[in-house]
């Protein structure tokens, strides 16, 4: 294939851009009949695209331990977990009974604040389950309020399906995961 036309266009474009670049001398690229004097002068190192990386790993943070009495009550489980039916945030009769007992303890220990954590089983999508867990925690909070527990002591949050109590893939595990848990906090 005759190369002259692309060759002369290349020469023209080079002339127009006025570029003079250096060239790493590699013996294989220079054929014997090219006199060295025809190589252009080499100024600085040729331009090169630099590749970089981003997003470092964040450092470890110190864990904050709750006070001893709060740890004690939480480990003892004085406030018992309640459970829910599939896809529901209704409070069953046995759930209500458990919540009445929790309310008794809470009213006897009025200085403690606590959080109600709503959870779901793994069925359903991650984001919808976050909202459902929230609904469950809110239902528990509202019921405790009707039993006389002060609202300002309570906060709610949801873990959706992210923190299962049981890791199986059957109703035995799922029924343990559809729950609201209690944690005393500062």
């Amino acid at each position: 294939m005759h190369h002259s036309r692309p060759g002369s266009i290349l020469l023209l474009l080079l002339a127009l851009t006025g570029v003079v670049t250096g060239c790493k001398k590699r013996a294989a690229e220079v054929t014997p009949e090219q006199p060295a004097a025809q190589e252009p002068a080499r100024p600085q190192a040729p331009p090169q695209r630099e590749i970089e990386d981003t997003f470092p790993t964040e450092p470890v943070r110190d864990a904050v331990e709750p006070p001893r009495d709060i740890r004690y009550w939480n480990e003892l489980g004085v406030l018992r977990t309640v459970f829910f039916a599939f896809d529901s945030h209704d409070l069953s009769a046995s759930t209500q009974a458990t919540l009445r007992e929790n309310a008794t303890w809470l009213k006897a220990h009025p200085d403690y604040r606590f959080v109600i954590q709503g959870h779901c089983d793994e069925r359903g999508t991650i984001e919808y389950n976050l909202a459902l867990g929230e609904r469950r925690a809110a239902a528990v909070r509202d019921y405790l309020a009707t039993l006389g527990v002060t609202r300002s002591r309570m906060r709610i949050l949801s873990y959706g399906e992210e923190r299962p109590a049981a890791r199986g893939h059957d109703e035995a595990a799922w029924s343990q995961n559809r729950r609201a848990e209690f944690l005393l906090e500062e």
Partner: protein, 434 residues
């Protein structure tokens, strides 16, 4: 002696090989194969990728660079890499002067020559793309970086090859953010689009979820339970972390950026039920979008920023809806399936991918917005959730437990070429960067 035109060209090639922008070769011959890509249909470019030239100390790096480029070209779907077993049929030639006729004879219309050098902690790559039928050099470039980033250097070469033929960068340098179990918690991770170079970003010991890339891929928003309230955070490329000034509520989740990066839409729960909110990031001001007792969540900004797809159970079960950027003009999109969630817009806004529960398991569907027809992309055992599009709209990333536990997978936008990216790490909620 008068230099022949051919030898004049050979003398110029070393100069071209030094970082100049590709020269527009205006007098391209008819044999220029870049004309093969036009509109929607194209013929795959048959390209040869012979082993990189390298001195012995750089051999390993050179092999990794070459293997990366080959994988990237195959993944892109624009190229057919000519079988390397045939390359030995082409006699060796000085670099810059390949034997075009011999390469054409083994079926290679295009040829990528690479040279890799290493010096201390640095790697240097030089790549030249040739068109064999016309015997012309299409481009010549140099790239450099830390030796640890050798694969990313190779990805840049691949992206430039794709850009040469299609006018748009390839996706080889893109990354996938996702969540994976780590110790007692779930942390945010990054990996390259091909599943390599997995690394952890957060160190919290608690739950983190739903990473969302900013449009310029310079920030990641995500949900974290690291504070007293689960909230939305932003991490910059330099590692700076900020909590979003979302509406005070027990749970803020499901962040998604507007296409100009000025707003984040998310769900929050100020009064006992989950609604959608819009945050003006610079001003820190929030605006409520939905007002009903249903759960409204999983918002997704359309690529033109004018509409938001979201999930609502206002009809009794989770379905996908559209509203405008003020939360008005709500209309329902999904009509089949009893549980639809996680809408994701294709980059051209012509399709929505989402997860739909079929016979008790989630499958990925794609809804064509013009025809309103939905097609299943996945089927079979297991659940397939949280689909997100690649920036060129040709692939999807998703989480699936088809192999037992949840891992991150990619597939072509037609459901073919499913590839598993993570192994056994309990990986979820992926998002694909630009």
């Amino acid at each position: 002696m008068q230099a022949s035109p051919g030898s004049r060209l050979r003398r110029l090639l070393p100069l071209l090989a030094l970082g100049l922008a590709p020269l527009p070769l205006a007098a391209q011959s008819d044999a220029d194969i870049s004309g093969q890509i036009s509109g929607r249909s194209f013929t795959r470019i048959k390209i040869a990728t012979p082993a990189a030239a390298a001195e012995p100390p750089a051999r390993d790096a050179a092999d990794e660079v070459l293997a990366t480029i080959r994988d990237d070209l195959e993944f892109s779907g624009f190229f057919d890499v000519v079988d390397p077993a045939l390359y030995r049929l082409v006699p060796p030639a000085p670099p810059g002067s390949p034997r075009h006729a011999d390469w054409s004879a083994i079926g290679a219309d295009a040829l990528v020559e690479t040279r890799v050098g290493t010096a201390g902690r640095r790697i240097d790559v030089e790549a030249r793309l040739h068109d064999n039928p016309s015997g012309t050099l299409l481009f010549a470039r140099r790239y450099g970086g830390d030796l640890e980033l050798a694969r990313r250097v190779a990805h840049q070469v691949s992206d430039d090859l794709v850009r040469h033929y299609t006018g748009r960068s390839g996706v080889a340098l893109t990354r996938i953010a996702f969540v994976s179990r780590h110790g007692t918690g779930k942390e945010i991770y990054l990996m390259d689009y091909d599943g390599r170079r997995v690394r952890r970003l957060t160190t919290t010991g608690t739950i983190n979820l739903s990473p969302a890339w900013s449009p310029d891929a310079e920030e990641l928003a995500f949900v974290s339970w690291r504070g007293r309230q689960p909230g939305i955070y932003r991490m910059s490329a330099e590692g700076e972390l900020r909590r979003l000034e979302s509406v005070a509520g027990e749970l803020s989740a499901a962040p998604d950026w507007s296409p100009d990066g000025s707003q984040i839409v998310y769900s929050s729960d100020p009064d006992g039920n989950t609604e959608l909110y819009l945050l003006d990031v610079a001003r820190g001001r929030n605006r409520r979008l939905t007002h009903n007792p249903a759960i409204d969540t999983s918002p997704a900004f359309s690529p033109n920023g004018r509409e938001i797809a979201f999930t609502s159970d206002r009809s009794g079960s989770p379905q996908i809806y559209l509203c405008d950027a003020e939360g008005l003009n709500v209309r329902r999109l999904t009509r089949t399936g009893g549980y639809n969630d996680s809408a994701a817009w294709s980059p051209r806004a012509d399709r929505l991918a989402y997860a739909s529960r079929v016979e008790g398991r989630f499958q990925i569907f794609v809804l064509d917005l013009a025809s309103e027809r939905a097609v299943a992309l996945t089927e079979g055992p297991g659940n397939n959730e949280n689909p997100r599009w690649s920036p060129d709209g040709r692939h999807l990333v998703f989480a699936s437990d088809r192999a037992g536990s949840y891992d991150i997978y990619t597939m072509r936008a037609d459901g073919s070429d499913v590839r598993r990216l993570t192994r056994g790490g309990d990986a979820y909620t992926p998002d694909w960067s630009r």
